[in-house]
């Protein structure tokens, strides 16, 4: 075995710098469902990028295409300058997937050995078990592991090829606080050595804490792309709702902080970073009544952001 390894050993990262991920004008439809509606995304090597969005935003579908698990309906996906499948064959890419089923009747160590044996070159089993913090679970059957433990096992498996790109779909689902800490520490340590990490999450906090860059997805499109601070500003704000027949939309939209105005019959819904200014305007300059101010969750913020792109569709 040892004699063959020099021939199949991995190449050094390309210094001329292919992007880690290069997605050009990609769409994906399942029957009538448009899961991804035209995404362009370039991620450089060494970036830690959070894919943020509510459930059904198209994050998992996009990650599947990056991993070659599904083909785009149109457009192209390249990983490190090659097709996703080629990148996986070289062991350049690995992933922690929500849906990756494991065999329940073998042990944690056997699972790692099994997958490790399939790669041309892989990290020692004990190392990846330690890195994922599951050394003491090595002899436990997978079927007896908790959700968080299985998730850490998936992470251990993902570390086997020592990948240059690690894609993580909701990686900390089911993990306890300690599990999350071990997990993110391991991620950051490897990222410091130049590994590119793309993780999907619907927690703004997690994205903000661990990513250099946040790509916000909703309804199959990228609706924002920037640093944590930039996206948080977009996701903040409140909605002011009032009964106001025939509102002067332009005047409302001109108030500082307002980013959307929606008319629903006699109701007007105003989304703004400064709800006080909106309320003051409505109370002093209009005949508005029944004023309600609600602060919105991230979910609603996503919907607001997307509404601009979707119109009534």
């Amino acid at each position: 075995m040892a004699t063959t390894s020099p021939h199949i050993a991995r190449l050094a990262p390309d210094p001329s710098g292919h992007p880690a991920i290069d997605i050009v004008d990609v769409t994906k439809t399942f029957g009538d469902v448009h899961a991804v509606r035209g995404v362009d995304l370039a991620i450089e090597q060494g970036e830690i990028v959070a894919f943020l969005g509510p459930n059904g935003a198209g994050k998992s579908t996009t990650i599947d295409m990056i991993l070659g698990l599904s083909e785009p309906t149109s457009g192209t996906v390249e990983v490190l300058g090659m097709s996703p499948r080629a990148a996986i064959s070289h062991g350049y890419v690995s992933a922690v997937l929500q849906s990756g089923g494991l065999l329940r009747d073998i042990t944690v160590r056997e699972t790692v050995r099994y997958i490790g044996s399939l790669f041309p070159s892989s990290q020692p089993v004990d190392e990846v078990l330690a890195a994922a913090g599951i050394t003491e679970l090595a002899d436990r059957r997978v079927g007896k592991c908790s959700g968080g433990e299985v998730q850490r096992l998936r992470f251990a498996i993902a570390l086997l090829p020592d990948p240059r790109l690690l894609a993580l779909d909701e990686p900390t689902t089911g993990m306890d606080v300690e599990g999350r800490r071990v997990f993110w520490n391991a991620i950051r340590r490897d990222a410091a050595r130049g590994r590119t990490v793309l993780f999907a999450t619907h927690y703004l906090e997690e994205a903000d804490q661990y990513a250099d860059r946040i790509v916000l997805m909703s309804h199959g499109r990228i609706v924002a792309d920037g640093t944590g601070a930039q996206v948080k500003a977009l996701a903040g704000g409140r909605t002011v709702r009032a009964t106001l027949p025939h509102p002067d939309v332009d005047a409302i939209a001109a108030i500082a902080g307002v980013d959307s105005v929606e008319i629903r019959g006699e109701q007007v819904l105003i989304h703004s970073a400064d709800s006080d200014a909106v309320a003051r305007h409505l109370l002093t300059r209009t005949s508005a009544r029944d004023i309600e101010i609600t602060s919105e969750g991230l979910e609603q913020a996503f919907l607001n952001l997307t509404a601009d792109h979707e119109g009534n569709g």
Binding site: R10, I106, S117, P120, S121
Partner: protein, 272 residues
């Protein structure tokens, strides 16, 4: 962890490679580690062991009290005829159980996990076929060893090797059947259907009782069932009888089950 997991360029040392265990994707991922773990999985499954090893052996012992056990059949006796038949039944059951496991793990997403590795899909199926064959061989071996120990079966020495080999080839049909049924009836329920189903087909196909003891109308149906062809083939070296329609039966059912398994499997892959 302080150990080295850095992005390593092309200088993976032989020491590291050796420490990491068997490596290489020269056979598309078909390797000893995978084969070993897959076999251990089967052996750990108590239900499989009971069905595959214990039940056929018990069946053989329980049949042995029958009269006419020493009557001549072809170049051997009835005991040898029963021995071959029960080995076929045990091996078919084992292979079908293995096949249904394939379907189960694919529907639970294990194949998605495998697709994140360099393993070739053909190699993945080859591993499963190998495991099914090894387990089938174990099931056959148990029955033949029990039969030999019992000392009642009598047939020429070479048939003690030819018949089990033919039986083993015939069990591939039932590995495919297992995959097919496993997709249609997901989860653990597959075996609840395959177990009694194969027993019924075995009776109907003349595995346990020769067809000439059945009423003519039952026999007409039996010729069309999947156990009939393979049982005639497995026993042919002993009986020196092999109707052409038995061969057609065996080939047709093999083709049908393989096509069915491949069809479900490709749909499953497309969906992933």
């Amino acid at each position: 962890m302080g150990t080295d997991t850095t992005m390593r360029p092309s200088d993976a040392t032989p020491a590291t490679a050796a420490a990491a265990g068997p490596r290489g994707t020269r056979f598309g991922g078909f390797n000893g580690t995978v084969l070993g773990i897959e076999l251990r999985r089967m052996l750990r499954n108590r239900r499989t062991i009971v069905f595959a090893m214990v039940l056929p052996a018990a069946l053989l012992l329980s049949f042995s009290g029958q009269s006419g056990w020493r009557d001549r059949v072809g170049s051997g006796n009835v005991a040898a005829y029963v021995l071959i038949s029960i080995a076929l039944y045990g091996a078919a059951l084992t292979a079908a159980a293995g096949g249904s496991m394939v379907a189960m793990e694919r529907t639970t997403g294990w194949n998605r996990q495998l697709r994140l590795t360099p393993i070739n899909p053909v190699a993945a199926i080859l591993v499963k076929a190998m495991v099914a064959l090894v387990m089938g061989a174990c099931a056959i071996a148990v029955v033949y060893v029990v039969g030999a120990a019992q000392g009642k079966a009598d047939m020429p020495v070479h048939l003690w090797f030819v018949c089990p080999l033919l039986t083993l080839v015939c069990t591939l049909t039932f590995a495919a059947l297992g995959v097919f049924v496993g997709y249609i009836v997901p989860g653990e329920n597959a075996m609840q259907i395959i177990g009694p189903g194969l027993a019924l087909l075995s009776f109907l196909g003349g595995v346990f009782i020769p067809l000439d003891q059945y009423a003519a109308s039952v026999r007409e149906v039996a010729y069309w069932t999947p156990m009939y062809g393979v049982s005639e083939i497995a026993r042919a070296p002993l009986t020196h009888e092999l109707p052409w329609y038995a061969v057609v039966n065996a080939v047709a059912w093999f083709a049908l089950f393989v096509a069915g398994a491949a069809w479900r499997m490709s749909r499953d892959t497309a969906r992933a």
